[in-house]
């Protein structure tokens, strides 16, 4: 039995909820401040850094959340490592 338990990994519920809250907060800000964001982000020139930085930030936070989400849902990579060559 103890052997079996060793193989059951603890699911990252806490991490998923934490990253999910930050992700939702980011999206809520994005949608509630649309006018201000469109104004600054659409200016071009050096303001180009704004959409690029935003894309990195969202991908980091939301990427971690979605990764934990599938783990919690029990969808993970095949146990047996695939030989690619």
């Amino acid at each position: 039995m103890s052997e079996h338990n060793k193989n059951v990994k603890k699911k990252p519920y806490g991490k998923m909820v934490f990253m999910g809250i930050i992700s939702i907060a980011l999206y809520a800000t994005l949608l509630s401040k649309q006018d201000v964001l469109n104004d600054y982000f659409g200016r071009g020139g050096l303001y180009a850094i704004l959409p690029i930085a935003t894309a990195f930030l969202f991908s980091f936070i939301h990427g971690l959340f979605t990764g934990h989400f599938w783990t919690v849902m029990g969808i993970e990579a095949a146990k047996k490592k695939k030989e690619v060559r």
Partner: protein
Amino acid sequence: MHDIAQAASNFINLDIMNITYLFIVGFVGGLVSGFIGSGGAFVLTPAMMSLGVPGLVAVASNMCHKFPKALIGAIKRAKYGQVDVKLGIVLGISAESGVLYGAHIQENIKKAFGDAGSNLYVSVAFVVILAVVGSFVLRDAWKTYKSGNTHEEEKITKLARWVQSINIPGTMVYFKSLNARISVLFTIPLGFATGMLAATIAVGGFIGVPSMIYVLGAPSLMASASELVIAFVMGLGGSFKYAMHGLVDIRLAMIILAGSLFGIQLGAIGTTYVKPFMIKVVMGVIMVIVLFSRGLMVPVYLSQLGLIQTLNEGTVKLLKNTSFAIMALALLLGAFIVLRAMWQGRRAEQKAAEEALGHVKA
């Protein structure tokens, strides 16, 4: 430039329906991208335009969701040992120059022949390239399936063996996915062609992945995973270029990203359950179906250019709607094959685990 600024001021109003629609299209596009390394963009851009987003803003916003998505996908697949970062970066840099050159050609065609000329060029590029490469990829996958050797390791092509055998001093680089040193004089034109295709039809991977497999000799799983690195490099450069002109609608890009990050993670996980030839099946199927979708639009553009008899409005509308529906079908079918293959792989793994447990108990 004034026109560009004008386009940027045309950022659409978003309601819950638009957001849901973009999220779902993003999810399906991400799922396919996570699996074959690219795809999705050919549906996402027209999907945004169908909401009233100006063409340039749609292209720019798609690009700005593509590079972060590719980054997350590449990181995920690197964990499975499928990414050749060096090959991705080397091809990605030459792809960047291909994107710039491709965009330049597009601008010149647009200046000389207008929107219809530009659209015709894009459609003909779609049809010709997808017909040649798509049918080749699909035929290869079919041959592997018929031979019953789907479990065996992939054999590299004669062309790839020849490329790997050429030694040009001062240009040789070792790539782990090929387990060989090859000359960058071979990778540069392939990367360039990938970039040109990305600038023309928005999906560079339809050249990038097959060329890594058949010309350089990379395994399918590594080729599709390394394509994500190319997409990241190309997408980052392209997004910056468009953002400098204020064309990125960050709301659209991030909403699509919200769905596509769910999809790309699932697609990446899916690659660990399937046989490598499934990458070719999904890619080939999508390419061949999209080819018909774009082929339908060729008469529309020919008629707009006055090269054939003018089509009536009803026929044009019918062809446009059918074309979009076929394109969406291609993406959905690709997603279905990915999910089905993943489901079967998981079932097989669970069954094997249960059998192993049964043996231990016995």
